[in-house]
C-alpha cells in the first residue's frame, strides 16, 4: 500500500494574534484504508490565444466514478496580472494568479467533470505544473 501524506500550513498576520492552521492527512482511495497509488505529474503552458482548453491531465471518464483523486495545480507565471481561469466543465471555479496554487479533491466521475483552463488577460502566457494523485482505473476489455 502506498502512503502519501499531504500537509497544509496556513499562516497570516491579518490579526494582532497570528493565525496558524496546520492540517495533515494520508491520501486514501474511496471508502477503504488503502493509499492512492497512481501519481501523474507534469507541466505545460497555456496562452490566452489558445482560448479555453480541456486540461490534458486526468481526463475524467466513467471509469473514475466514485473514486478518489486529489489535484495540485500551480500557475508558474511571474507577471502578477496573468491568471489561469479554471472551470469545472462549464462552471467557473476561480482564478490562479501568478505563483498561486490549489489542492483539491476532484470528482473525476465522467467526461462532464473535466477541468477547463484558460490564460487571461489578453496576451497572457501561463506555464503551469500539476500533480494528480488518483486510484488506478479498471481496464476495460479491448473491443
Amino acid at each position: 500500500m502506498a502512503t502519501t501524506t499531504a500537509t497544509l500550513n496556513l499562516s497570516s498576520d491579518m490579526l494582532s494574534s497570528p493565525i496558524n492552521i496546520t492540517a495533515s492527512s494520508i491520501l486514501m482511495k474511496a471508502g477503504v484504508t488503502e493509499g492512492l497509488e497512481l501519481i501523474e505529474m507534469g507541466r505545460g503552458t497555456i496562452a490566452e490565444a489558445d482560448g479555453s482548453k480541456t486540461a490534458e491531465f486526468g481526463l475524467p471518464t466513467a471509469l473514475g466514478a466514485d473514486k478518489a483523486a486529489k489535484l495540485f495545480l500551480v500557475n508558474k507565471a511571474t507577471d502578477p496580472t496573468y491568471y489561469i481561469d479554471i472551470d469545472l466543465h462549464d462552471t467557473n471555479i476561480g482564478r490562479l494568479y501568478a505563483g498561486d496554487w490549489m489542492f483539491i479533491p476532484w470528482g473525476m466521475n465522467d467526461t462532464a467533470s473535466e477541468l477547463v483552463i484558460e490564460a487571461e488577460p489578453s496576451g497572457a502566457t501561463c506555464p503551469y505544473e500539476f500533480v494528480l494523485l488518483q486510484e488506478p482505473q479498471t481496464l476495460v476489455a479491448h473491443s
Binding site: 502519501t4 501524506t5 497544509l8 499562516s11 501519481i39 462552471t91 494568479y97 490549489m102 489542492f103
Partner: protein, 129 residues
C-alpha cells in the same frame, strides 16, 4: 492588507520506488472579510451549509477540512462534498482530508454537503486584496 502564507507538502516513501518529496509555498495578499477558523456541522442539504458567500467577482482563498466526526462527536467515514452553490460538485473529502483553493471571478459561493447524516467540517476563507 495582510499576508497569507500557504504551504503544501506531499511526501511518500513507498508510492514510488523513488521517494516523493514535494513542497510549495506562496505569499498571498489578503484583506477583510475573512473567516478563520470556523466549524460547522454539515447536513445533507448543501444549500443549508453555505460557508463562503457569493463572490461578486472577487477571489476568496478557501480552506476546508473533514474532521472525521459527526454532529454528536461520533467518528464517521461518510464523505463531505465540496460544492459551488447550485449543487455543482467539485470533489469529495474523506475523513481527515482537506483542501485549499481559490474561488472567485464569478457569482457563486461555496457550500458543503454530507453524503449522509452529519459531518463536522472546519473551514476558513480569506479575501484576495
Amino acid at each position: 492588507m495582510a499576508t497569507l502564507t500557504p504551504t503544501l507538502t506531499l511526501t511518500s516513501t513507498d508510492a514510488t520506488t523513488d521517494q516523493l518529496s514535494f513542497s510549495v509555498t506562496d505569499s498571498l495578499s489578503v484583506t477583510a472579510p475573512h473567516i478563520g477558523l470556523a466549524k460547522i456541522s454539515v447536513s445533507t442539504t448543501g444549500a443549508n451549509n453555505i460557508i463562503q458567500p457569493a463572490t461578486d467577482g472577487q477571489t476568496y482563498y478557501v480552506y476546508v477540512k473533514h474532521t472525521g466526526v459527526d454532529g454528536s462527536g461520533s467518528t464517521v467515514t461518510t464523505t463531505l462534498n465540496i460544492e459551488l452553490t447550485g449543487d455543482v460538485i467539485i470533489g469529495k473529502l474523506a475523513a481527515g482530508e482537506f483542501m485549499f483553493m481559490p474561488v472567485g471571478g464569478h457569482s457563486l459561493g461555496v457550500q458543503l454537503q454530507a453524503s449522509s447524516g452529519t459531518v463536522v467540517a472546519e473551514y476558513a476563507y480569506f479575501t484576495k486584496a
